[in-house]
Amino acid sequence: MTIRPGGAEAYAGELSQAVQDAGEFESIFVSRSGPPFSHAGHEGTRLALADRDPDLYYFQTELDEFDRVFWAMADKRVYTQDWRAFLEAVRPDIIHFQHTLFLGYDIIRETRRTLPDAPIVYTLHEFLPICSHGGQMVRTETYELCEAASPRRCHDCFPQFSVQTFFLRKRFIKSTFDLVDMFIAPSESERDRYVEWGIPSEKIRCENYGRLPVEPLPDPPDAGRRRRIGFFGRITHTKGVDVLLEAMKILESEDADVRLTLWAANLDMQSSSLQQRLSRLLEETAGSVRFAGRYEQSELPGLMSSVDWVVVPSIWWETGPLVIHEAMMHRRPVICSDIGSMVERIQDGVNGLHFRVRDPDSLAETIRRAVDSPGLWDQLRGQITNPHSMQDHLQVITGIYRQLLDSRERLAVL
């Protein structure tokens, strides 16, 4: 529910539209607006309509009120007056949260208080409730994978916050999560992580993302070697772009004839150290790597058709990732890290290839194998199944809505 480029946000919009189109439920989509992104809202209200669409709202919050550790607004009137007024006016039967960033978890509490009978669903796109480091469960200094959170470990990652702070944080988040009726996690590994953290197993379901079907453009002409690789997404510390560029550097030094295009946004929003590092690597690999910058979602089919392989070198667990969905929809075999939800979507040697996470040598070797093995591309491509369609996904989601509404009614009758 934020307006910035990113897979989860695109998915949320698609889902809302699909729910609306299916007719059984009316879907009202609320996006959080405010710094650091666009500003919406008017004097005296936090609400604004997006493009005059009565089903598409913006809800404005300010950053300076927002506690980034607890995800709480100091001034509770955001919830108790503004959000409450919205809920009382609209009176939704179900509330489905995709996100609470810059809103705060207390929005769940307020929702439950104002609409005690309305089921609350929450889709967990990443590990933000568990992990203060961008919800990625990698450690701050080293970007190593983190297997389990604890107040002491979190304090090690963020020494400026005490162990007790993290103790209170988990307690606080869980107290709001107790009010949620159903959680949705897009991958099994993510679901398992949350169950271990403390969400009761019966309250969290695994349901993969569904995407709207796209017409795949015809395959690129067989130019012999399938040597064109694409990266699609945002640049952050954990997307592994540096690992990819290091691998390209190795491949260039071996005169491997491989071409990589980076369609990547947000380089300018990253830390200066990362920007410098990537800029340097881009210079060193200028022979084989082209940095193409941002792309629009609508351009994706065309861009996909210009590459043979899609690489997802994330160094964090990933919970979708939606780029893999998109690659599968366009019948592009994926080369990805061997962890998390990536290995749930892509089976090594079946519909794509794995390499050892964070290891440029392993990635370079995998790319080389991909490019140089005749027939491999066709074989893998042939085994790519249709990703979970929005149609099927919608059935599951609305099924969840129906089930929750039914059980509420039953409780009311008792």
Partner: protein, 1078 residues
């Protein structure tokens, strides 16, 4: 004095108004015998007033013997201040003395003039007394010390004072300054300056208030600190040093004047100097606090300073508007008006309130509870009310916000909050304490309200990693004699055994405690004298302990987070707090420090079955042999004998255990060793031979070789004896002749365990053939009672495990674990050939085996009942059983169960013994055996004797445990089943809702009769009543009558003869005489 008139007349020389209501006079008067008896009559215009006078005799330099100089003060109505004075007369009763001159107007002057005169004519010591006299005059006359009066007194003081030399600020042998005076209140002052001397700490300080009060300061009221700048200027060296000083001055009479303080300094060598403060008095209590805390840091260990400086100043500061006040109270939502419980939270960090509220809001115990937050804003812009509104809107839990201003320490916050609280029960907690789950309040209340002797309780507090933060507080004496606060189990895992049971403690943490409001008020609230980081919680608990007990309740659990940011306490503050704690609480701690960590249970615990600590934790010896009656020996059988009891003060291996030790020696008159029998009056309990080596006795009887082998000992478990017992020791010769060796009276503690049972027992104590199987079956139909189907099985877990316990409690058994004699398969039960050694080097483990281990075994046995019956209840789909039902025989088993389970309920089921006889005969005939003792008895008479003994035991059961045992007659159960059953259910403490007894009876009637049939010997239940009249022959009837009639009557039956109740003879069993043992 210059005489202005005849020298032989009583006259007033000078008079002056010190203040509009206060007249001072210098008079010369013929010596008065009793000056206090004289009153002054003054005439003013038409007014004549009589007033009491205050007198000071003065030694006059130039006075003659005929007259004595006096300084007088008298209070008069202020309106007369401007009026012309006429005359003054002294009057005492009828006596009068005129004072010249006739008009006092002429001698009226300014106070300064009198001062000058006094200076001229009176010596220094008289003038010193005058200063003191004047300084106290306002108080004496009970008039206000106005600024003007103070100024006047100050001027007079200056006139009257003998000044000491002052010194210049230059290196020299002795110099001093009084730099600053800070006022605390009108009696307490803080003086600062420096002193330069060979021994500055030995200088005596005398403070002089502007009005003239003098105070020589005790050691400790003056503290010292370095003054490097002055040290340099005055060129400190090895001989002379400069120190700054702080002095606390406490006056007897108030001082108001803003300037004029003087400090006089006297060395031991006799030099004296003074200095007057050159700055006006300051009023700045915050600065003062800061100064004092710095001072503590400079000389942290000086206890005299703590007592004579810190403590009085802190006390005064606290008394006089220092400390926070509540500015306003805001109620959010509908706060309960008449709550039972009030929770007061001292919130240091307002952002943490949110985290507490999210727990409170989901806790049902907080409905109808008044929740009060006491907080002070950190900066003036902080919008606490807005924040509170937001929190109330979000969580929906009503609470009160008390906004305070001023330095708000935790004690002050608690005391302020408590003053607002409306509940009769208080919970005081810090803002950094967070409940783990709902229910902690109920658990605390259960223990606090469950016993009249408990006054305060505290929960288990955990750190965020679930290690223990607080599990009670104990105080340990250091080698210096000071008390150190110790936190047992701190930092250890919460599952540590000792931290899991409720126990009485010396104190609980003020971070969270529950106390009755009345007790809190009575004991004086939290002390506010401590500086930051003091042990006010312990201080309060130790005061509470004068009136009530303080308990630790581990089932109530909360998390305690470290203070964030952490509180900084300087070393000096810490030392003062330690000293203050010792000063206030040291004597109490010394008087009450327990020797053991565990203390006895409070007087009454009706609802809680928990027994504290390890084992039963009760103090005192488990077994005490009180008395032995020396025997009148029958010399025909026993030549000589003596009984020796182990006393409780022996430090043998069996001291302080449940083992009873009786030893002695006995020499037979003829032949072989005697057999020694110990009987309890009904039967022989233990038997041994008197053949142990006794060389000492051999030496006593050199002509009797048997004497050297005449010793005997009994090391037996006292658990199978009643709690008050009397034993007879009998010697039996080889030929069977018996002689008493003496009686032992003793008592033992009831056996308790630390086990907390889930199910309570319901025992049917019976002799059998009394319908007990039917009653057990019936009772197990009740939803809250679980029992094993009694017609197929016979559940005897209670008998089984109590027998196991009693067997393992015998030293013959438990000592096999460390001094084994493994002869056969049953060696562990205790079959030994050789006697157990009594004297052991190492007594620790034997004692543990004989005491704690037995209590733990008892708990284990209890756990077996729960284990079995809970499993059975689950199989029977019982939801929440309260009791399990079993039959047992009268004797040690129901007694032991009764001791372990204070909540046990017993049904003493009795049947007409004559019908029982018929029933037993019938059953034996049916099954082909001879049970119920029939097999052992030769004749009917012997059998009836046996039955009589058994019936006596049953009667004893009922009599001894009349509070928990209910007598039920089989006949009543047959004739009035519903009524009888309801009475039984009611006694058992289970639900007796309408019709439940009837439904049980109906269900029982509908059960297949096959199982029951096996038990039955009559054609019908009704036919089983009174069957003796049909089935017994007249001979047997007569025999029964002789054997049972008295017991029958006790049980409420008609005697065999025509309904007359025979007189009830005394009973033979010793057990029945327990009531007479006091």
């Amino acid at each position: 004095m210059t005489a202005t008139g005849p020298a032989d007349v009583d006259r007033v020389e000078f008079a002056s108004w010190l203040a509009p209501g206060l007249l001072m006079m210098l008079a010369r008067v013929e010596p008065l015998a009793n000056p206090g008896g004289w009153r002054l009559l003054v005439e003013w215009g038409e007014d004549t007033l009589e007033r009491q006078i205050r007198w000071l005799p003065c030694a006059d330099v130039g006075a003659g013997p005929a007259r004595q100089a006096w300084m007088l003060t008298v209070s008069l109505p202020p309106r007369l201040a401007g009026a012309p004075l006429s005359s003054a007369v002294l009057r005492a009763g009828d006596a009068r003395r005129e004072l010249a001159p006739a008009s006092l107007q002429g001698v009226l002057c300014e106070p300064a003039a009198i001062g000058a005169e006094c200076r001229a004519h009176f010596d220094a010591s008289t003038r010193l007394r005058m200063q003191d006299f004047l300084a106290s005059t306002a108080v004496w006359h009970d008039i206000e010390l106005t600024p003007d009066l103070a100024a006047t007194l100050a001027a007079l003081r200056d006139a009257l004072r003998e000044r000491l030399p002052t010194t210049k600020l230059e290196p020299g042998p002795f110099a001093a300054r009084l730099e600053e005076v800070t006022v605390i209140d009108e009696l307490g002052f803080w003086l600062t300056g420096w002193i330069h001397d060979a021994a500055p700490r030995h200088v005596r300080f005398t403070a002089v208030s502007p009005e003239g009060s003098r105070r020589e300061l005790p050691t400790g009221a003056v503290s010292f600190h370095p003054r490097p700048a002055y040290a340099k200027t005055l060129k400190d060296d090895a001989s002379f040093s400069t120190l700054g000083y702080h002095a606390y001055v406490e006056l007897d009479h108030p001082s108001r004047h803003p300037e004029g303080w003087v400090m006089e300094f006297r060395t031991t060598g006799g030099r004296a100097i003074e200095h007057a403060a050159f700055r006006a008095i300051r009023r700045n209590s915050d600065r003062l606090r800061g100064l004092m805390i710095d001072q503590l840091g400079a000389e942290p260990g000086d206890e005299a300073v703590h007592e004579h400086q810190m403590l009085p100043v802190m006390t005064r500061l606290r008394r006089h508007t220092h400390g926070a006040r509540i500015d306003r109270v805001v109620d959010l939502g509908n706060v309960p008006r008449a709550p039972e419980l009030s929770i007061v939270v001292a919130a240091r960090r307002v952002d943490r309130i949110d985290h507490q509220l999210l727990s409170f809001a989901s806790d049902p115990d907080l409905e109808d509870t008044e929740l009060i937050y006491v907080a002070a804003p950190k900066d003036p812009d902080e919008d606490m009310v807005g924040l509170a509104e937001g929190l109330y809107d979000l969580h929906g839990l009503p609470f009160r916000l008390a906004i305070a201003s001023g330095p708000l320490g935790r004690s002050r916050a608690f005391n302020l909050g408590a003053s607002l609280a409306r509940g009769s029960l208080l919970v005081l907690m810090g803002g950094e304490v967070f409940p783990s789950a709902p229910g902690w309040i109920a658990k605390l209340r259960e223990l606090l309200e469950g016993s009249a002797s408990v006054g305060a309780v505290g929960p288990r507090l955990l750190f965020e990693d679930d290690s223990i933060a607080h599990a009670g507080v104990a105080y340990v004496r250091r080698s210096t004699g000071r008390w150190r606060r110790s936190l047992p189990f701190a930092g250890l895992a919460r599952t540590m055994p000792g931290a899991g049971s409720p126990r009485r403690v010396q104190a609980v943490s003020a971070a969270c405690m529950m106390v009755s409001r009345e007790l809190f008020d009575r004991c004086g609230h939290f002390s506010e004298l401590y500086l930051d980081g003091g042990d006010e919680g312990g201080d309060l608990c130790l005061r509470l302990a004068d009136a009530a007990e303080v308990w630790y309740v581990p089932d109530a659990e909360l998390h305690l987070l470290d203070e964030d940011p952490p509180r900084e306490t300087s070393r000096g503050e810490a030392r003062f707090n330690e000293w203050l704690f010792d000063h206030r609480c040291g004597d109490r701690l010394a008087a009450t420090a327990p020797d053991e960590p565990n203390t006895p249970m409070p007087a009454r615990m009706p609802r809680l079955s928990a027994i504290p600590g390890f084992g039963s934790g009760r103090s005192g010896a488990p077994v005490e042999s009180l008395e032995m009656q020396p025997p009148q020996l029958d010399r025909g059988v026993v030549l000589d004998a003596s009984l020796e009891l182990r006393s409780a003060h022996d430090d043998g291996a069996y001291t302080n255990t449940y083992t009873l030790a009786i030893a002695g020696w006995a020499i037979a008159s003829e032949g072989g060793p005697l057999t020694i029998e110990v009987s309890d009056g009904a039967e022989v309990r233990w038997r041994t031979k008197a053949d142990m080596r006794r060389p000492d006795i051999g030496a006593k009887f050199p002509d009797r070789p048997a004497a050297a082998q005449s010793g005997f000992q009994f090391l037996v478990s006292s658990l199978s004896l009643p709690t008050e017992f009397q034993l007879e020791i009998v010697g039996v010769s080889a030929s069977g002749a018996r002689a008493s060796l003496g009686h032992v009276r003793g008592r033992r503690r009831t056996l308790g365990s630390a086990y907390r049972p889930r199910l309570q027992p319901l025992l049917i104590t019976t002799l059998g053939r009394s319908g007990s199987a039917w009653l057990a079956a019936l009772l197990s139909l009740h939803p809250e009672i679980v029992g094993l189907s009694p017609f197929r099985f016979e559940a005897k877990l209670t008998t089984y495990w109590m027998d196991v316990l009693h067997t393992l409690a015998e030293p013959a058994s438990y000592m096999q674990t460390i001094l084994p004699e493994i002869s056969d398969r049953d060696w562990w039960i205790g079959s030994r050939q050789s006697p157990l050694p009594v004297r052991l080097q190492d007594t620790g483990m034997p004692r543990w085996l004989g005491r704690e281990n037995i209590e733990i075994l008892a708990g284990f046995c209890q756990s077996r009942f729960d284990g079995f019956y809970q499993e059975l209840a689950a199989a029977q789909k019982r939801v929440d059983p309260l009791r399990f039902v079993e039959k047992c025989e009268p004797g040690p088993v129901p007694r032991a169960i009764g001791e372990l389970y204070p909540e046990c309920r017993e049904i003493v089921l009795v049947r007409d013994l004559r019908d029982m006889v018929c029933s037993i005969d019938g059953y034996n005939a049916k099954r082909g055996f001879k049970l119920w003792g029939r097999d052992k008895a030769g004749t009917d008479a012997e059998w009836f004797d046996h039955l009589r003994r058994e019936a006596s035991k049953l009667l004893d059961c009922w009599r001894l445990r009349s509070e928990t045992a209910q007598l039920v007659r089989y006949e009543d159960l047959i004739s009035e089943p519903e009524q009888t059953l309801t009475a039984v259910l009611s006694h058992a403490g289970v639900s007796t809702d309408a019709g439940i007894a009837r439904r049980m009876l109906e269900e029982d009637a509908s059960q297949p009769p096959k199982d029951k049939r096996f038990h039955q010997t009559s054609d019908s239940t009704e036919a089983s009543v009174g069957r003796w009249k049909r089935d017994l022959s007249p001979d047997r009837v007569a025999a029964c009558s002789e054997a049972f009639d008295d017991i029958l009557v006790e049980f409420g039956y008609e005697s065999t003869a025509t309904g007359d109740a025979p007189t009830v003879p005394a009973f033979k069993g010793f057990a029945a005489n327990e009531a007479s043992i006091s």
